[in-house]
């Protein structure tokens, strides 16, 4: 495909995209944007739960002592254990993950 015809395809797609999206300008740092959820753990200077909790427990997940069983929503997700049948077009692909910041 020539670069000109590619440009036509891309320009057509961009035109369609611009029509479908209402681009609304928002005031930089508008106060209402600041109301909302905080994500992620916070650094603190408090102490934990005293002398009896996680810190002293000895968990060995490779031996026979691992006694925990997943008990969340994964119990109701019926997906094949090995991901069989979920390949794109049946082909192996290099997975790209966690791309660095642009």
């Amino acid at each position: 495909m020539s670069i000109q015809s590619k440009s036509l395809i891309i320009a057509g797609a961009l035109t369609a995209a611009l029509c479908s999206v209402a681009t609304v300008a928002s005031a930089e740092d508008a106060m209402e944007k600041c109301f909302g959820v905080a994500l992620a753990g916070q650094n603190d200077c408090k102490a934990g739960e005293g002398t009896t909790c996680a810190g002293t427990s000895k968990v060995d997940f490779q031996g026979n002592s691992w006694k925990f069983v997943p008990a969340g929503t994964c119990m109701t997700m019926e997906l094949p254990a090995d991901g069989a049948g979920m390949m794109r077009n049946g082909a192996m692909e290099e997975l790209m993950r966690d791309l660095p910041e642009a």
């Binding site: 106060m31 944007k33 909302g36 916070q42 603190d44 002398t51």
Partner: protein
């Protein structure tokens, strides 16, 4: 040198929590200033920094570091010092404070304020580190007395003597955490009143008040945990009133980091501190 006693107002402040942003803007009374943990504002952008841009226009800010590891055996982290410098240059805070503690070793950050033995060796190391911090930031810092649970066989001097000597050598000020005095006094078998009477109150630029929980040690003895997860308890208020009576009004922070209450309950704690500050103010 900048006078930090004039930096923060001698009013109650609170540790800033993002869930209180709107309430604080609506009506912060009687809270007159806010403290942030430096490390929570070292991201590149987004809501945390946007909130802080609004708050710094309205309130004096105290930057309280929790990750510098001033008591660490290893050298201070230059990158972290630079990040602190960047934050302080942006906010021009009324106060910068850190802890007499260590938290990083061999590249692992342990996320706790760990104790140091009070010896001449530790004293020299801590003083060197504080010199480095004050030079890097271009400002005087306050050093906070810790809450501790264990003692060290090698400890050779009292905590008040240790802090006083660090301040004398470095010119730093002190942050007096009254709850920590009560917690450590109980845990280490000393009288908090005697500790406070010996404390160099003229060096104190800020006071901390917080809640603690009760547990017990290896021999069933009462052991207090500095949990910051409840209201300030009676004995701590009494010690605080004694400090203010002797020193006059001081900037006073309510620290509540765990099971954080709604704003009215936190503001009520600040109001209680304000009532102790006012009669002498």
């Amino acid at each position: 040198m900048f006078d930090y006693a004039q930096g923060l107002p001698a009013k109650p402040g609170v540790g800033y929590k993002p869930q209180h942003f709107q309430a604080i803007l609506d009506n912060a009374n009687p809270v007159g200033w806010l403290e942030i943990h430096a490390e929570n504002y070292m991201g590149a952008g987004g809501r945390p920094l946007a909130q802080l841009r609004h708050l710094v226009e309205r309130f004096p800010i105290s930057v309280h570091g929790v990750g510098l590891s001033i008591g660490g055996e290893g050298p201070l982290d230059r990158d972290h010092l630079q990040r602190l410098r960047h934050l302080c240059d942006w906010l021009n805070p009324a106060s910068f404070s850190e802890h007499l503690a260590w938290s990083t070793h061999d590249g692992a950050f342990l996320n706790d304020l760990l104790p140091v033995p009070y010896t001449m060796v530790t004293l020299a190391r801590v003083a060197d580190h504080i010199d480095e911090v004050q030079e890097a930031l271009g400002r005087r810092m306050l050093l906070e007395n810790p809450s501790t649970y264990i003692a060290f066989a090698e400890t050779a001097m009292g905590e008040v003597d240790f802090l006083s000597e660090v301040a004398r050598r470095t010119g730093c000020g002190l942050l007096l955490d009254v709850n920590n005095v009560y917690v450590s006094g109980t845990n280490q078998n000393y009288d908090p009143v005697g500790y406070l009477d010996a404390f160099p109150l003229h060096l104190v630029g800020e006071v901390h008040l917080g809640g603690h929980h009760e547990d017990s040690d290896d021999h069933g003895k009462r052991l207090l945990i500095d949990s910051h997860g409840a209201e300030v308890l009676g004995p701590v208020w009494e010690l605080y009133a004694r400090v203010i009576d002797r020193a006059g009004p001081l900037p006073t922070l309510i620290e509540w980091d765990n099971d954080v209450p709604d704003w009215p309950e936190l503001a009520a704690e600040a109001a209680r501190a304000a009532r102790i500050l006012e009669p002498v103010g």
